[in-house]
């Protein structure tokens, strides 16, 4: 009888722990939203903090070092959105590189307070003039 009671308590505790882990994970499962996912249903993300992930579009980066204002386009090659960030770009931030920005949309522009770099799983020693593998970077975001 005592064993049964302990067993039942154990099952309840495990179930509660499992539920909490599931809740935490399902939040983590969609770590960032792609621009085309946002474009499909902007209402779902209205007035909500979110992470937007994608590739920094080539030629779109502008940094005003006096005002510490960084602007660029984040794209998934279907949709792209303008990102405004107050602060300097991280070291590994670059055009055609993966990026995840934290913040919220304000009138079609993503106002970010944190720029994170998502780099690919490709590691290579530099060779002069070698281009970066854009396809591999894009694949790493799918």
């Amino acid at each position: 009888m005592r064993r049964l009671a302990y067993g039942l308590i154990g099952v309840v505790v495990l179930a509660a722990a499992g539920f909490m882990i599931f809740r935490a994970l399902s939040d983590s499962l969609v770590y960032f939203v792609l621009p085309n996912e946002y474009a499909r249903d902007p209402g779902e993300y209205a007035d909500r903090r979110l992470r937007l992930g994608g590739i920094v579009e080539e030629g779109s980066v502008a940094f005003d070092s006096d005002r510490l204002q960084l602007t660029f386009l984040v794209t998934d090659s279907i949709e792209s959105f303008e990102v405004q960030h107050r602060g300097s770009p991280p070291d590994l931030f670059k055009e055609n590189g993966g990026v995840v920005v934290e913040g919220r949309f304000k009138g079609g522009i993503f106002v970010s307070d944190n720029v994170l770099v998502k780099h690919s799983e490709v590691y290579q020693a530099p060779e002069p003039g070698e281009p970066i593998d854009v396809e591999a970077l894009k694949n790493s975001l799918q």
Binding site: I21, A24, L25, D27, S28, L29, V30, Y31, F32, G53, P90, D91, L92, G97, V100, N114, V115, L116, V117, K118, H119, S120, E121, V122, Y123, Q124, A125, P126, E127, E130, I132, A136, S140, L141
Partner: protein, 238 residues
């Protein structure tokens, strides 16, 4: 008295590990080329990845001996399971510390709750729980059985952790060395040094493991002696 002395070969293993550790550090810090994207920061990778792999190995060994203990009930298997669990806890903590060190300058944050990092935090929490539960149980047989079950749960979480960056969107980069034959996206110059450092981490873990098993045996021999002598000396738990 003599049994308590560390055997010479074990001291030799420790010394050899220390020397090879120095070699691995030199390879990582000076011989390795920089990475085209990360530059010199790639050198942290050698410490982070090797330690993470050994953490998985340690959980596997602890779960194996835990399983054997559940099956056969031999105290010796439990001693191996605990020793390996201590190694797993140490290497899990090192994985997280090294990962945070690596993550801040490359990805831009020390910590974020993506699937890979969340599962690793869970792994560390379960390993801490393993030792809390052991400390709460006095009966040595139950101690062994309950903690073995916890370690089997930890083992079951490892495939999700290992493949987290493949299955879910994460900030943590995906695997570069794919064991299913779909290729290696890390240059051989990096892979060689990573494998060397992994071998050194395995040696260090083996040394800790063997030394801890030796101490565990001495410990349980003493407990047996104390129990045989009866309630004369120490207080008896009811």
């Amino acid at each position: 008295m003599n049994r308590a002395k560390r055997p010479l070969w074990l001291s030799g293993l420790g010394l050899a590990t220390l020397l090879l550790f120095g070699t691995g550090a030199v390879l990582a810090l000076t011989v390795s080329p920089p990475d085209v994207n990360q530059g010199e920061l790639i050198r942290i990778m050698y410490a982070h990845v090797s330690v993470a792999w050994v953490c998985f190995l340690a959980v596997g060994i602890s779960a194996l001996f835990g399983g054997l203990y559940l099956w056969r009930g031999r105290a010796g298997h439990d001693a191996w399971a605990v020793a390996s669990a201590e190694g797993a806890l140490l290497f899990a903590a090192l994985t997280i510390v090294g990962g945070m060190t690596y993550s801040k300058p490359t990805l831009g944050v020390y910590w974020t709750w993506d699937a890979k990092l969340t599962l690793t935090a869970l792994l560390l929490a379960l390993l801490v729980g393993y030792f809390i539960v052991r400390a709460l149980i006095d009966d040595r047989e139950r101690q062994g059985r309950v903690s073995a079950v916890i370690m089997l749960v930890v083992l079951a979480s490892l495939p999700f952790n290992y493949l987290a960056a493949e299955w879910f969107r994460t900030l943590h980069p995906a695997k570069s060395i794919n064991l299913d034959g779909s290729g290696v996206t890390m240059e051989p110059a990096f892979v060689r040094i990573l494998l060397f450092n992994t071998a050194v981490a395995v040696l260090a873990f083996s040394y800790f493991l063997l030394e801890r098993v030796r101490l565990g045996r001495l410990e349980s021999a003493r407990q047996d002696e104390a129990e045989r002598e009866g309630p004369a000396g120490e207080a008896v738990h009811v």
